[in-house]
Amino acid sequence: MSPAPAAVASAQKDSSQVRQKAMIARHFDRLAAAPETGARCAYTFVPGNLTELLLSFDLLPVLPEINALQSAMRGKTAEYIAVAEKLGHSEDVCTYVKSDIGMMKSGNVGPTGQRLPSPDLLLLSYTGCFTFMKWFELLREEYQAPVAMLHVPYQADGRITDSMRAYVVDQLKTAVIPKLEAVTGRRYDEDKLKVLLARSALAEDDLVWVLQSAKNVPSPIDAYFGAVYYLGPIFSAFRGTEEAVEYYRSLREEIAERVREGKGPVTPEGEVTHERFRVVVEGPPSWTHFRAFWKMFADEGAVAVASTYSKVGGVYDFGFRHDPGRPLETLAEYCLGCYTNLSLPTRIDLLTRYVAEYRADGFLINSVKSCNSFSAGQLHILREVEARSGRPGGFVESDLVDPRYFSAANIKNRLESYFQMLEQKRVGAVS
């Protein structure tokens, strides 16, 4: 589960989008060149990623979730999923996995059209979802690559205990770092890691500022669709780099300018000049119809002012920052704190809080078939957040990267009715 740095063809873009696209493209160039340069790579996941640790070993991260969602945006996943299903993968399971397997079986050509290197290591950092574990068991069979397993416990009671933190730190020391050393032939360099972590914290400060800029009315950003672009660098291969620090600094300046000018968000169809509805969104986007889905919001003047999806790669808005003073503990706390590792009651509290703090008219759940981690319990979330926030909730169903489950007419109808209801409530409240 991960936000995407991706191309939106012929769309209106703000300059940050152009910049992040170039960053991501450079990363894929490095990956494509790996067989010649000798660079080594680790496949890993977005939630609970250990990017700083990988970079401290000069390992290049490859994120199969991002490949899957980018393949969806390029219209490739129907074909990849069909390949995987033909090989015996069930129609019932997460389509990220099937897209990844299908892509690999089709030559492992990544989203930029370049071939991806095979993994030197599968870094199975298992945060917030059990599917990850099965995913890398499957990939291990295909690639015969070593696996470094990091089991991150679940915050079932809404808190991180000492035992959880110690368990993760112990695994980093004894299961993860030795594997990184073995694969790269280098020693663990804590000083280098600290430098990277300090940079992460700087970028995180600016990211939080950007996401919280949506508290302004009108919001200068779309915190669901638009946020996907902003999150690309930090959720993928760049957390801890100078490039990321610079990117988020300039993104912040760009958004600050929009706030000063009282501007709304930029969407592929143009700028939202009249913010009619402010909504909080729970659940990931549908990547196969990303632009069409966004347009359904934009056409109604609906702006996502906060989203939970933008927190799958880390929840930073309640104060967590990577702390270079406690390198392994901070990585543990980061992993433990990702959104889908939070209990249902915590998720409900968080959504209710977003609705209030971002002055939302309502909240909307996009429930994806692929993802039990997100979806199992969302109908309960819907009712609870409605009751607690006093704002109406909407519910649509689709999928991440399987176009068979995106029924555009049905979703559009539902969204239109939902926005009409918000309008009526507003009129009712005024009269």
Binding site: E137, D170, Q171, A175, S343, S367
Partner: protein
């Protein structure tokens, strides 16, 4: 029906318990003993620990097909398995009223998220998420798991259970060792002479044993084992020997198990009601008993699809089971939308292919009512096995 009235009566008793969705037997036990009863979801919890604290562990396995789901469906989208809906339904309709708590083992995202829903829906009962480790190093995963068990023991004590003592735990381990040994013997007998232990019968004993104290289920297993061993009226038939894989959480309807048997299959190994066989051998009773429980989980548990398989080749355990059971075919029989089972299946299929035995796959839900298609599929499968093994 057998020619042995005692056997009929015993099977009837197990069947009555199995059908007791409102947990009347649990309520009786509580009224008699004044003890706490705590439920647990599939697959495995260390029941010994609860028992040692005077708590009755009660296996909660979803609903049977007759259960009408009214409220439960309002909690889940169509693409989520069935077990959590019936669990919610039974919770909301009061069937779990005798339970003082529920333990949710960490096996999948659905059970995980259900633990949070339970906290909100039933704030007065104990809700414990048993976050079993996926790291099997005793110093790391073992330490974490031990702390989790200590936290569980403390939570039970806070609800009024006896404090956990080493002595009581050793005694409980010994009792469960005996219980598990009998289950293993039943499985062994079924492997050797499957006609003596029809799976649809064995299954209700496994389910019944989830509802009564170990002191009652052990004699039940023992008597059943003795009676079926001695029952000369149970004669071999021309059936194909199959291993059923994938049904470790949401359970197939009993009618589905009967359908497979009627379609010509002897089930010679399975993963139904797996708590009884999750730990493969006796747990030593010497030394520190809590550590013995921890070690058993780390080193002697089955290779469930819900566990990370680190060093072994994926599916090696299935290959071993195929060899040991003498299965001639594998039926991959998983609940619809069950991530752990279905994500694992391609790797399990490869294991069956390495073992060079035929396999077929289908899905079910715990409330499935129509088995015509499965009957035909299993019938064709068993016919083809019999045909090939005859040549």
């Amino acid at each position: 029906m057998s020619h042995e009235p005692r056997l009929d009566a015993l099977v009837q008793r197990a069947d009555d318990l199995f059908r007791d969705q409102a947990l009347a037997s649990v309520a009786d036990w509580k009224a008699r003993t004044g003890g706490l009863a705590v439920g647990f979801l599939p697959i495995y919890v260390p029941r010994e620990l609860l028992h040692a604290q005077g708590v009755l562990p009660v296996g909660v396995m979803g609903g049977r097909p007759e259960l009408e789901i009214i409220k439960g469906d309002a909690f889940y989208q169509s693409y989520i398995c069935h077990l959590p809906r019936s669990t919610i339904e039974l919770g909301l309709n009061g069937a779990y009223a005798p339970l003082d708590g529920l333990i949710f083992p960490a096996i999948c995202d659905v059970i995980r998220n259900l633990s949070g829903m339970w906290q909100m829906l039933f704030p007065d009962v104990l809700v414990h998420y048993l976050d079993v480790p996926q790291n099997f190093d005793p110093a790391i995963g073992g330490t974490f798991y031990r702390r989790d068990l200590e936290a569980l023991a403390a939570a039970l004590e806070a609800r009024g259970a006896r404090p956990l003592t080493g002595e009581a735990l050793s005694r409980s381990i010994a009792l469960y060792n005996e219980n598990r040994r009998l289950v293993r013997e039943l499985y062994d007998l079924r492997r050797r002479e499957p006609w003596k232990v029809p799976t649809h019968e064995l299954y209700v004993f496994l389910r019944a044993a989830l509802l009564v104290p170990v002191e009652e289920s052990t004699p039940m297993f023992a008597e059943y084992l003795a009676l079926v061993s001695a029952d000369g009226s149970r004669r071999p038939q021309d059936q194909a020997r199959v291993l059923v894989a994938g049904s470790f959480c949401e359970q197939p309807p009993l009618a589905l198990i009967k359908t497979l048997e009627r379609a010509g299959c002897y089930i010679v190994d399975d993963d139904f009601v797996q708590v009884h066989r999750f730990i493969r051998s006796d747990i030593p009773v010497d030394g520190d008993p809590l550590q013995r429980l921890v070690d058993a989980f780390l080193t002697d548990a089955v290779a469930s699809p819900t566990r990370y398989i680190a060093d072994e080749v994926k599916g090696a355990d299935l290959e071993r089971r195929i060899a040991e059971s003498g299965a001639e075919g594998v039926l991959f029989c998983a609940p619809s939308f069950c991530d752990p089972a279905l994500l694992d299946q391609p790797m399990a299929v490869r294991a069956a292919e390495r073992a060079a035995i035929p396999w077929t796959a289908f899905k079910y839900a715990e409330n499935s009512g129509q088995f015509q298609v499965i009957r035909e599929q299993a019938g064709t499968f068993s016919d083809s096995i019999k045909l090939w093994s005859a040549t």
